[in-house]
């Protein structure tokens, strides 16, 4: 057994840290250092910079624009971006539909879509959930009827993240009606901006941002050539897509950032003659969370190491989402508790009332309640573990 990073990896990390600090535009750097929250526009700006460097999609094959890095390098890359509090990139193109196209897309689809995903010229979003298909995704109802070379789409998607910024949406829709409900589903790419009959209506989250939209399709016409994989074979596409970047879903790097942030707030928060970070009770609470994060990190490292040896993520990876998202939420709760009365503030509180680095804590804390819901709720994860891994009987 060997858990050390190789000298090459250590060197790679040092270079990365230096590059990231230099590559950020000054205002972005200032906000990153101040612990500010970034919006989707900042993510797009940062993607352009990474794209110029050739680092927009490290995990893609080199011939499609990837970096050729190994799993560990990619992991270091993710972690250091998070530590530097760089804006997060939209995952829907780079992390989801892109890799799927690499694997299952036709040659035409690859050439048409991949370059613009990479450059950020086209922004993507995801259309999976429907009002009556949440945890039970396979019961989705959005219909695609064939009409000549096209499909005619009718129905509704919900929780389409940042659809108002998107040029394209990938959706699961129903093309067949027979057999089990997982059959008869197809995976389509849809021009959300220019297709008549599509209405996008962003709605406010309790975090105070318009992170999600509802999207209606009314006789929206989409060429059949925009289907990825076989007709009625969309469920396997969806499963393949879920497999990508499995190890990142635990949010380890993000939790690390929040815990550092909790310490920082505690350091800057006076209590009596000292600081909150001097309070042994609060220190122990942070310490417990940090210690738990070390445990989760090690579980993640085991998964990564297995991946580096070419093995599919083993059983241990399935727990990362479960315990990782719960820790992530706890880390945000520590920040809220550290803020004391400042936790009363909100995104629009004036700067004299709420320091910039605390501005979006409550909003994010609020929004991240969804971390245990999205990407397969933690209840669904427990179902998967108990059935697929432990082999417990169904009734």
């Amino acid at each position: 057994m060997d858990m050390t990073l190789s000298p090459q990896h250590l060197e790679f990390r040092d270079e990365l840290v230096t590059w990231i600090a230099a590559a950020m535009p000054p205002e972005m750097k200032r906000r990153a250092d101040a612990g500010a929250e970034f919006g989707p526009e900042d993510g797009m700006a940062w993607q352009k910079i990474l794209y110029e460097k050739g680092w927009a999609a490290p995990a893609w094959p080199v011939e499609c624009g990837g970096t050729g890095w190994d799993v560990t390098q990619r992991h270091i890359f993710t972690e250091e971006l998070m530590r530097a509090n760089a804006p997060q990139l939209s995952p829907f193109g780079l992390g989801m539909v892109g890799p799927l196209l690499v694997q299952y897309g036709s040659e035409e689809q690859k050439q048409r879509f991949l370059p613009k995903i990479l450059s950020g010229d086209e922004i993507w979003c995801q259309g999976y959930s429907e009002p009556n298909a949440g945890s039970d995704l396979a019961s989705l109802q959005l219909r695609a009827e064939k009409d000549g070379d096209d499909y005619i789409l009718n129905g509704q998607k919900t929780w389409t993240t940042y659809a108002q910024y998107a040029d394209w949406i990938f959706i699961l829709c129903r093309t067949g009606s027979e057999g089990k409900k997982q059959e008869g589903i197809s995976f389509l790419l849809v021009d959300i901006r220019n297709t008549p009959g599509i209405t996008v209506k962003p709605f406010l989250t309790t975090g105070g941002t318009y992170a999600f939209s509802e999207t209606w399709f009314e006789n929206a016409r989409v060429p059949q050539s925009n289907r990825v994989g076989p007709e009625d074979g969309g469920w396997s596409m969806a499963k393949a897509l879920l497999g990508h970047e499995r190890t990142l879903i635990g949010g380890v790097a993000e939790s690390l950032r929040w815990l550092q942030f909790a310490k920082r707030i505690a350091r800057d928060t006076p209590v009596g003659t000292g600081r909150l970070l001097d309070d042994s009770g609060f220190r122990r609470r942070i310490a417990r969370a940090e210690m738990r994060l070390r445990a989760i990190t090690m579980a993640q490292n085991r998964t990564l190491a297995a991946a580096q040896l070419g093995r599919a993520p083993g059983a241990e990876s399935s727990i990362l989402k479960l315990v990782g998202t719960e820790l992530l939420q706890q880390a945000t709760e520590l920040c809220m508790d550290a803020m004391g009365h400042d936790a009363l503030g909100w995104l629009d509180s004036p700067p004299e009332a709420l320091p910039e680095h605390e501005r979006s804590v409550a909003s994010q804390w609020n929004y991240l309640r969804a971390a245990t819901i999205y990407g397969g709720s933690n209840e669904i994860q427990r179902n998967v573990i108990s059935k697929d891994i432990l082999g417990l009987p169904t009734r």
Binding site: S129, N132, G134, S135, D136, S139, T158, W159, F203, L204, T205, T206, G207, G208, F212, T269, P270, V271, G272, T273, L276, G281, F282, R285, Q329, M336, D337, G340, H341, D342, A343, L344, G345, W346, D348, S349, P350, E352, A353, L354, A362, N366, Y367, R369, A370, T372, I373, S377, N378, E379, R382
Partner: protein, 388 residues
């Protein structure tokens, strides 16, 4: 022991519940949170007419001679509708102090108009550095020899209703060093006083607080509330009432979130069945129910004990109640959001708004850590070792 509501209490509860259902459902709050003030003086006046604002004050002060339990029952019902009128800062905090410490003239001038819903009040105690420590007060009040005027300098943060209150009870130091226990005094300052700057801050819960800057504000000596330099124990008393009130109002939100969750479990179908038929969710709901019941129990306990003659027992039970609000309530609210799925993080649904207001109440008047610390540092924690 008897924890049944009296006939009168049941009448109060019914009438407030009816008001919330008919006149002030969450929808009203949703609209008001984007208005300037965040609440409606007309509704406030009606509350005065209903007698809700004076329920817990003695009759000779224009009140109805009820007790804190009556007030708590009102707050609980209002909490269900997220009714935004400022009962907590005005009736519980500032009003409570004026009722307790005020001269006849002060009661007449400042409390009675509030009881009638003509004016509203606020209590300015927190400062940028103070966290939950009441004696950590940098704001000063000085009086030159022979003068009838005190001069206030300093800053008060997160003053509930502080930006719009007509009168503000302000904690200021008249002597001693920043964290001395002695030397704190209370002043009733006019909201429109010269050299007082008020910045409106909209909070996470959509309510307004005020950032108050006192830059040499002059206050006449007849606005000194209670004995000079002796405010701390009264402030502690007021904070305990605030905590009990937070438990009461929060109970409204906890109960709503729980009831909505149970209803959703019965009605939402996935995999062809109501999700409430899944045993894992049933058991979660059972655990939530247990916490709701414990919250209800400690909320009642706190409301009964705010007027206890034994301050140590009062503080112990109120800390226990506040901890239950923070920990037990948190268990209920986070699981409600989890069970409700996307609905719980959608602003246009009520649940997320209940969730945020509840979090604000959990943080006010001391969070869980603060109350655990207070509980274990009191003398009785060691004295009650009855086993030899």
């Amino acid at each position: 022991m008897n924890f049944d509501l009296s006939e009168e209490q049941q009448m109060i509860v019914d009438s407030v519940a009816k008001f919330v259902a008919n006149d002030s459902p969450v929808e009203r709050f949703r609209k008001l949170r984007d208005s300037e003030r965040g609440w409606d003086p007309e509704v406030w006046k009606r509350m005065g007419e209903f007698g809700w604002l004076g329920v817990a004050y003695p009759e000779e002060q224009g009140g109805f001679g009820g007790d804190f339990v009556d007030l708590a029952l009102i707050l609980e019902q209002l909490g269900k509708g997220l009714v935004p009128e400022p009962l907590l800062p005005s009736v519980v905090l500032a009003g409570g102090l004026i009722s307790r410490l005020g001269t006849e003239a002060q009661v007449k001038a400042f409390l009675e108009p509030m009881v009638e819903g003509e004016t509203s009040l606020a209590l300015a105690y927190a400062e940028r550095q103070s966290r939950y420590c009441l004696s950590d007060c940098l704001t000063t009040a000085e009086r030159e020899d022979g003068s009838d005027l005190f001069t206030l300098n300093g800053e008060k943060t997160w003053v509930l209703n502080g930006a719009f209150a007509d009168q503000i009870v302000v904690v200021a130091r008249t002597e001693g060093q920043p964290q001395d226990e002695r030397g704190l005094s209370l002043f009733i300052v006019d909201g429109n006083a010269a050299r007082l700057t008020r910045t409106v801050v909209r909070g996470m819960d959509g309510h307004r607080t005020g950032l108050l800057n006192f830059d040499g504000v002059q206050v006449s000596a007849d606005r000194l509330l209670g004995a000079q330099g002796e405010a701390l124990s009264h402030l502690e008393w007021a904070m305990d009432r605030g905590a009990a009130a937070a438990c009461a109002e929060g109970q409204g939100q906890i109960q709503e979130l729980f009831d909505h969750s149970v209803a959703y479990l019965k009605e939402r179908k996935q995999f062809g069945v109501p999700i409430g038929s899944f045993q894992a969710l049933q058991h979660r709901a059972a655990d939530m129910f247990a916490e709701v019941e414990l919250c209800k129990s400690t909320m009642i306990l706190a409301a009964i004990l705010v007027d206890s003659e034994d301050p140590e027992e009062r503080m112990a039970e109120i800390s226990a109640a506040k901890l239950q609000l923070s920990d037990g309530g948190w268990f209920v609210q986070k699981n409600a959001i989890q069970l409700l799925g996307g609905i719980g993080v959608t602003d246009e649904q009520d649940e997320g708004l209940l969730f945020k207001r509840l979090r604000v109440l959990q943080g006010l008047f001391g969070d869980a850590d603060h109350h655990v610390e207070r509980f274990q540092t009191r003398e009785g924690f060691d004295a009650h070792l009855r086993v030899p």
